[in-house]
Structure formats: C-alpha cells, structure tokens
C-alpha cells in the first residue's frame, strides 16, 4: 500500500488530479482509490485529496493520515496548511515552487524532494496557474511509480473545464521534464 495526499487550492485541479492519477495507476495494472476532501470549495481555498495504491484490491474508503508522499501543487500553501501532517519517515514531497531546494522547509526525515516550477510552466501554457497536470508529470518523474504513458492516457479520459487536452498533455510532459529530484542528505534537513 502506497498512500498519497495531494494539496492544492480550489481551481487548480487537485481533486481532478487524484482521479487522473487513480486512472493511470489502474491502467498500469494496479488498484487505486481516490477520496477527495469535501465541502463547498471555493476558488483559492485549500483543498486536498487522498489516493491509495496497492497490488491488491483496496477496501477502505477513508481519508489518509500517514501518507508516503505529499504532492503540493501550490507554492504558497505550505505557509498556511500543515501539508506534512502525519507523513511517514522516509517520505516524499513533490512541491510546486520556484525556490531552490535549500529554501524548501520539510521534516528532517524526508527522503526525497521533487521540485518543479509548476506555476511558471502553467502560466506559459494556460495563461493561468492550473498546476495539476504539471505536477502529475513531476510526481511520475520523482517517484517512477506511474508511467508517463499511463498518465497521458488518463489525461485523455478526463474532462477539463478550464483547458483543453492538448495543453494538458504539454503540461504533463513539461512537468516531467522540468522536475529536479533531490535525494535528501543531512545538510538539506531543516
């Protein structure tokens, strides 16, 4: 069982990203269950979604309290939300940010950091900071847990309200290509 929590803001597509990622894992032959956070999410308000992946069928329809991986698709969110709540030792952070790795605060026992300037990429492609597809590419690059082909196929099955499929495919590929993957060493620990 591998558990992922995606953090974003309403309008960036965090919940849709969890469904696309679930589709990609299923297309890669795994079992996946995605559970979004619930409420009246407004544009800009913090939202999250949970995703479980396993080699066998997943029965629990519950939130995730101890993720292996946190994907944060908004650069300003870590200042207002404890995105690391419950993260397992040796976990992975995939963070949208223009900052240098040394400037990313994280738990001392975090093992892997994937860093992508997703807002700049999204602004170049969509003209708006819709970072979800970019960050799915970043996740694939940093973890290798899902194939880019499966993600690309899953994008093709999704319905986008704010952008078209071709743009999202470009966003996915640029996210994959432009993510720095840092194996954390003690000097990176905050």
């Amino acid at each position: 069982m591998y558990e992922i929590r995606i953090h974003g803001r309403g309008g960036q597509g965090a919940v849709l990203a969890s469904a696309i990622l679930a589709q990609a894992f299923v297309d890669d032959g795994q079992f996946a269950v995605a559970i979004p956070s619930f409420g009246f999410e407004r544009r800009g308000a913090p939202v999250s979604a949970c995703l479980r992946v396993d080699r066998r069928e997943i029965r629990a329809l519950t939130n995730i309290y101890h993720p292996d991986c946190v994907i944060c698709i908004d650069p300003s969110l870590p200042r207002m939300v404890d995105i690391f709540a419950g993260i397992k030792p040796g976990g992975t952070l995939i963070q949208a940010s223009a900052r240098r790795p040394e400037a990313i605060a994280h738990p001392a026992d975090l093992a892997t950091l994937g860093l992508c300037d997703a807002v700049a990429i999204a602004l170049a492609i969509f003209g708006r900071p819709i970072t979800n597809a970019v960050m799915l590419g970043a996740f694939a690059r940093a973890t290798g847990l899902v194939s880019l082909d499966a993600l690309s196929g899953a994008l093709g099955k999704a319905e986008f309200r704010d952008a078209d499929l071709a743009q999202n495919q470009i966003a996915l590929r640029r996210g994959h290509a432009e993510t720095a993957v840092i194996a954390l060493t003690p000097e990176f620990a905050s």
Partner: protein
C-alpha cells in the same frame, strides 16, 4: 450499442449513473442536491448525447420529482431519480405514497446527514428517518456494488410478488466521490437480465384501461376498515416476498456477471469468530481491514454487514449472530429517544426470538462526513471484547460516540 463489458475509473455517483443508463429508464426526473449532484449531471449528459434514450424532467423541487415519476410509472414508464438528505425531506409526501401505490421505482439515496446543525456531508440519518415508509432499503459498500445493485434493483422492484419501490443507498462523500475501478457490464446482457418491463399491470393511467387509481379507502365501517387493512397486509407481503426475490436476483447476477454479493447479510470471517462488528454501507471496508489486523494479534473477530435493511433480514441476521458471543454494532445515524443507533436497535429485535442474550454494544460514528477509520474499528473490537469479558454486563448501555472529542483523533 456497447456489446463488450469494459472498465472505467469513476466515483460512486458516476457508477450509479452508468447503471441507470444500462437499465434504460423511460423517464428520469431530478433536482440537484449535494452530494447527489454529479450523479444526475452524469445522467443528464448521457441523455444529452443520446446514449440514454429517456425523458429528462428538470422540475422545481423534489416533491415534484417524485410526483412526476408517479404519473410516469402509472403510465407504464420505468423511472429513476436520486436525492439526498434535505431533498428526501422535501420529497416526503409523494415518497410515502409510492409504496402504497405499489410503484416499482428505483431511486438512489446518496446518504447525507440531516439538518440541523447545518451540514452538507455524508451520514445515514436521511434514510433512517424513512426506514418505515415502505420502500425497500439496500446499502452498498463499493462503487462497483453501487453499479451492480442499481441494476438489480429494477428486477427486484418490478418482480410481480414484490412491486415496491427500492432505494439503493450509497454514502455521501466517501462513496459518492470516492474513485475506483468499476466494470461496466455489457448492455445486451443487462437487457437480458432485466427483461421486458411491466410496471403498471396493477394500477395504470391508461385510456385503454380506465380505472380509479388510489380512491378513498378505509373509514370506520367494517368493510372500509378491512379493505384498508388488506392493502397494508399486501404491502407487508410484498416486503416479505422481497427477501427471497433479493436473494434470487443476487444469485442471478452472480451467474450472469460473475460478481457475487451477499444479498441480505454478508458474513466476513465469521465461522471461527468470537465477536463480530455489525456494519452498514461504505464503512464496511475499513471494518474488514480492522478485523484482519486484529486477527494477527489473536483476536477472533468477524464482520456482519447489513446489505438489505428493509425488509429487515431477521433470520439471516440471527443466523450470523448465532456464530459469535458478542456484537459491536456501528451506526452512521441516531435513533432519537432510544438514543442509540438504528441498526443496533434492529439487531436487538432480530436477536430476541432466538432467546440468546449476548452483549451487544451500540457505536455511533461517521456523522456529517466524519471519517470512520480502521483505528476506530480497532477500538470497537477492543470494547466489544471487554464487554464479553465483563461479568454480568448490563444489556442496554449508552452508545459509544466514536467521533466525540474524548475519543481523540483517528490514528
């Protein structure tokens, strides 16, 4: 026409919409409400693209939804709607008339907790509030089971010995929005499974068969009183017959599509169990995980999942309970006045004829969108073991409120 089964990755609401598409209703009437909205949006999309050839009525509220469908059903249409919490409340007047009219409708309840306090999240207070209204109530655990059960519901409702409306319940939030892999069965095989509909052979709005539908019945004179009683008895017979029909339809589904669900009461790891959790709906997966985990440490625990709640499967529940020495019943709703969970209450009633007095504890959790986790069920298991070990435990003790503050945060 789609002739191959295929898989999609979707949430419980979309799974229900796929099932409705495959069941080919003639008339769908809807009014959107959280957390049902995406279900009817998906359905409207199927109708808009022509994938489902049905009349879509977008009316001004849930009272009109069910009133419109009553007319459609009496005119011979297969019908569908879905609602949640306050929408069900606004539907109440036509809702209670539907079983008495013996209209074999299928409606999804995307379960939502009831007001007040104001809330928009999942909980089963809506359906438990109408448990004695005369609708068949079936509860699903997974998105796949939602899809399969909505289709089965038409065959159950339209069976000549039943002729009662069916609510297929799926929990708001965790199941309505939870995304997983779902197999979409082949249309031709669903057509063959459901067969030709005949929903108004008994009561019809049909110029070729003029009749008075729902005339004034009852009153103080003996003949009127007896006629009213006969209608009530007939409804009870339909409920009774439904137990066997639900069982048969689930067996036929397993034969046709290879997915085998316990129709009334699911028994999970019960044969050597000392205690059992009793669950209903989407909480059951976490409960099974908790039972598996507890068994590793030597706890002999199983799970009894109530799938059919109306008609209440008294014999099946008693049979399952006879295998264990104590029960921990987890409800996602409250029976005010009894101040316990409704499933708990009904489990007690089902055990009485057997004469066995075993410890049965009421746990209430998952209200208003609260999570019911494996850690919560681990505590339910622990407390139920404690009740079994306690000498001369009192029979009726106050419920344990799982998400109350003294229970701490889920781990």
């Amino acid at each position: 026409m789609n002739t191959m089964s295929r898989a999609v990755v979707c949430d419980g609401n979309e799974a229900a919409a796929w099932a409705v598409k495959l069941a080919r209703p003639d008339v769908v009437a809807v009014y959107p409400i959280t957390p049902q909205s995406s279900l009817v949006e998906n359905l409207a999309q199927f109708i808009a693209t022509g994938e489902l050839d049905a009349e879509l009525m977008t009316v001004e509220g849930e009272h009109s939804v069910l009133s419109a469908l009553q007319g459609a059903c009496l005119a011979g249409a297969r019908t569908y709607t879905a609602t949640s919490g306050p929408g069900l409340a606004f539907m109440f007047e036509p809702y209670v008339r539907t079983p008495g009219l013996r209209l074999p409708m299928v409606a999804s309840l995307v379960n939502r907790d009831m007001l007040s306090p104001q809330c928009v999240w999942g909980g089963q207070q809506d359906v438990m509030t109408v448990r004695d209204a005369g609708w068949i109530q079936i509860f699903c655990e997974s998105a796949q089971e939602v899809l399969d059960t909505v289709i089965m519901a038409y065959r159950i409702a339209e069976h000549r010995s039943v002729m009662l409306p069916v609510n297929v319940n799926h929990d708001g939030n965790y199941l309505s929005y939870g995304v997983s892999r779902v197999e979409i069965p082949d249309q031709q095989r669903v057509d063959a499974f459901l067969g030709a509909k005949n929903v108004n052979w008994h009561a019809a709005l049909d110029p070729a068969r003029p009749m008075a539908v729902d005339p004034l019945t009852g009153g103080a004179d003996a003949a009127g009183a007896a006629r009213f009683v006969a209608y009530r008895q007939s409804l009870c017979r339909g409920m009774h017959n439904a137990l066997e029909v639900i069982t048969d339809v689930h067996a036929a589904w397993a034969d046709a599509f290879g997915r085998d669900y316990a129709p009334l009461v699911e028994e999970y790891r019960l044969d050597d169990a000392e205690i059992a959790l009793v669950t209903i709906g989407s909480m059951s997966g976490a409960a099974k995980d908790a039972a598996d985990a507890a068994r590793i440490t030597g706890s002999r625990v199983g799970v009894i999942r109530v799938k059919t709640f109306r008609p209440f499967p008294v014999a099946a529940l008693a049979r399952a309970a006879a295998k264990v020495q104590a029960l921990g019943v987890v409800d996602r709703a409250v029976s005010y006045g009894w101040n316990c969970g409704p499933v708990f209450q009904e489990v007690l009633s089902a055990l009485y004829p057997s004469g066995r007095r075993i410890p049965v504890l009421s746990f209430i959790g998952g209200l208003a969108g609260a999570d019911l986790t494996e850690a919560h069920f681990a505590r339910v298991i622990e407390r139920t073991h404690q009740a079994l070990a306690a000498p001369a435990a009192p029979f009726l003790v106050p419920p344990v409120w799982i998400n109350a503050s003294e229970e701490g945060t889920p781990g």
